[in-house]
Subunit: 378 residues, 2 copies
């Protein structure tokens, strides 16, 4: 156990796991092309010898393998290493109000199994837990060691990530009053699932999972840097990635974007306040004024971009999916106008988030995979 607060001391084990995760991350990012030991050394700043030791360990453990060699540049050609994707798996579960989606993801982020099911979040804890467990067991059933109730025997399974809408405590894995379902308030979802499944479980907000998924395998412009994922569906929320890690805040409350006030004493919002972006944006969208909805969203996005100086904005959610170009262009225009006024160099890119329907579930799986690769995780 470390100190009660603040940063902990470092020791050799920490150095080892840090460097191993770093190398593993570079192997993943190299994809099927692979990467040589010397390139790994350059990228990490470690000596080639250190990289050799680390990769030898990873190969012995089955996480990495040699995969051919590059063309020679006058001497011995470099041996190419690549990640062995099937050496590790994680399940990602997206728990929505009326639907459940579970995916099985390999180390490289590829989805190798998927299940969908109807769900009623109001049906009570027992029913929902049962449905989640059934979906998780179903999605891993082809893995070696699967079959029993307990999934601890599935050697390659790192754990399961669960993403859902309501406010919750990521650190403790406890739900707060999920919007519209007050009976979930205080429910220890993480521990309840971990006990039933026999593997580690992590819970997080859906927007955070989506942002993490994008940080790992998102659009090229923003992957792994700092960006905001804005989700416009039945509500409006945001997931923030700062320096490659999801920013959750002390109480997992960060990303409260929809109730940002952009019109003092404006029209009332469900939350009890007035002039929230969510009310203005969704109201305009409901009236069919998509350009106005996009402009309003752009103003709020501009506030965010200015405050955090992020590298990009990604848009997603059902409402955006209905007219992606209108929203992307509308938001980009507001941001560009703002940048011009401030004399900033390059415009902040605005893109539509890829992998729409599976974004959250894949990101939920990354809640367990990302730490293996050294991505920031708080």
């Amino acid at each position: 156990m470390t100190g009660d607060k603040g940063v902990a001391g470092a020791n050799l084990g920490l150095v080892r796991s840090h460097n191993t995760a770093l190398v593993l991350g570079l192997l993943r990012d190299a994809g099927t092309e692979g990467i040589s030991r010397l390139e790994l050394a350059e990228r990490t700043g470690l000596t080639p010898q250190a990289v050799s030791k680390i990769t030898a360990r990873l190969r012995a453990e089955g996480f990495a393998a040699e995969a051919g060699r590059r063309a020679s540049t006058g001497g011995k050609p470099r041996t190419v290493l690549r990640l062995v994707p099937e050496a590790g798996h994680a399940v990602g579960v997206h728990l929505d109000r009326d639907e459940l989606r579970a995916v099985l993801v390999e180390l490289d982020g590829a989805v190798v199994a998927e299940r969908r099911a109807e769900l009623d979040l109001g049906a009570g804890a027992e029913a929902v837990l049962g449905a989640v467990c059934a979906a998780v067991r179903d999605v891993v059933r082809d893995l070696p060691g699967a079959g029993g109730e307990d999934l601890a025997g599935v050697g390659s399974l790192v754990g399961a990530g669960v993403a859902l809408p309501g406010p919750l405590d990521h650190a403790r894995g406890v739900l707060h009053r999920v919007t519209g379902f007050p009976e979930w308030d205080g429910f220890p979802l993480r521990d309840a699932l971990a006990r039933r499944l026999g593997v580690p479980v992590v819970v997080d907000k859906d927007t955070n999972a989506a942002a993490l998924g994008l940080a790992v395998g998102g659009a090229q412009e923003v992957a792994g840097r700092s960006f905001a994922y804005l989700h416009l569906g039945t509500g409006l929320g945001a997931g923030l990635v700062i320096d490659g890690g999801v920013h959750r805040g002390a109480r997992t409350g960060a990303g409260e974007f929809g109730h940002q006030v952009i019109q003092l004493d404006g029209p009332p919002c469900e939350c009890g306040n007035r002039g929230c972006v969510e009310a203005l944006c969704l109201g305009a969208a409901a009236r069919g004024e998509l350009a106005e909805a996009a402009r309003v969203l752009g103003v709020a996005a501009g506030n965010l971009v200015g405050l955090l100086d992020i590298d990009g904005v990604l848009l997603g959610g059902r409402t955006v999916a209905g007219a992606p170009d209108v929203y992307a262009r509308g938001v980009a225009e507001v941001l560009a106008a703002r940048a011009r006024r401030e004399g900033a160099g390059e415009d902040v890119p605005v893109r539509i988030a890829p992998r729409a329907e599976r974004l959250v579930s894949e990101g939920a799986a990354q809640l367990l995979l990302a730490p293996l690769f050294g991505r920031g995780d708080a």
Copy 2:
């Protein structure tokens, strides 16, 4: 040289400097009371033996000293260690439009010398550089080794930090068009000063320096955690501290708080946009409507608090200083109302930032001191 991007590999030297900085930070936080080796071990998670080795090194180098012993609890009493403040110094310079302030700060953050001077930022680079250098040399003149042009001989001097208003590039130390003084655009202030002074120089925005100063020695509620410093003077800006480190963004543009739009199509602002907080807040203040100014500020602060889930808000600047209670209470009320609506647990505290006039210059000195103590610095 490390890799071209991303995180670097860790080695033994990094472990050493990390743990040393950690211990040094705890020694500083312990103040004159001091702290025992075993307490340091508990706080860091290191073994007592490791702490003994580290503190022995620090004592040999003059950074720490034994200072009495605690009462026995039945065995050998713990020996108390404390920081030797005069073992290290840094100069902090606050460069404002019409004034220059330089302070000399010891390791514990105490100000041991101070100079003020009139200044005209528009008088040209040569005049301003000369004034800054003169102030720095003057403020360190009583340190052993001082006296010459070059300050490299002042053994305990870590360097000088310079904080100023305009947009700038913290990483490269280059100014952008300082508001109202376009001739500074592109000026490499850091390198120019470092060459003249012979010691390392760091430049940053004034709000960032202020936030860093508060993170190190600020109000108890927020010190070292996550908070926002809102500066309301001739303009409105913010400095963000996230997890103990200043968040600057990739282009040192973070903290653009004043031009957050909180009233769609509201009154025009100097920046060319409409409905910015700065225009609304300062407009209300100019009309004498302080309560309204505070409410407007509170709405914008609420947007920020919701987005980042921070632990507290600190207010500063000349306008706030004119009626501190009105602003603190007004902002707190808006935040409390918002928290009630969302059913959040505790209210976000709102306080007046201490050390008003010297806040920025002290923070500027911390730009060099903070890294010694392991505070996050990007």
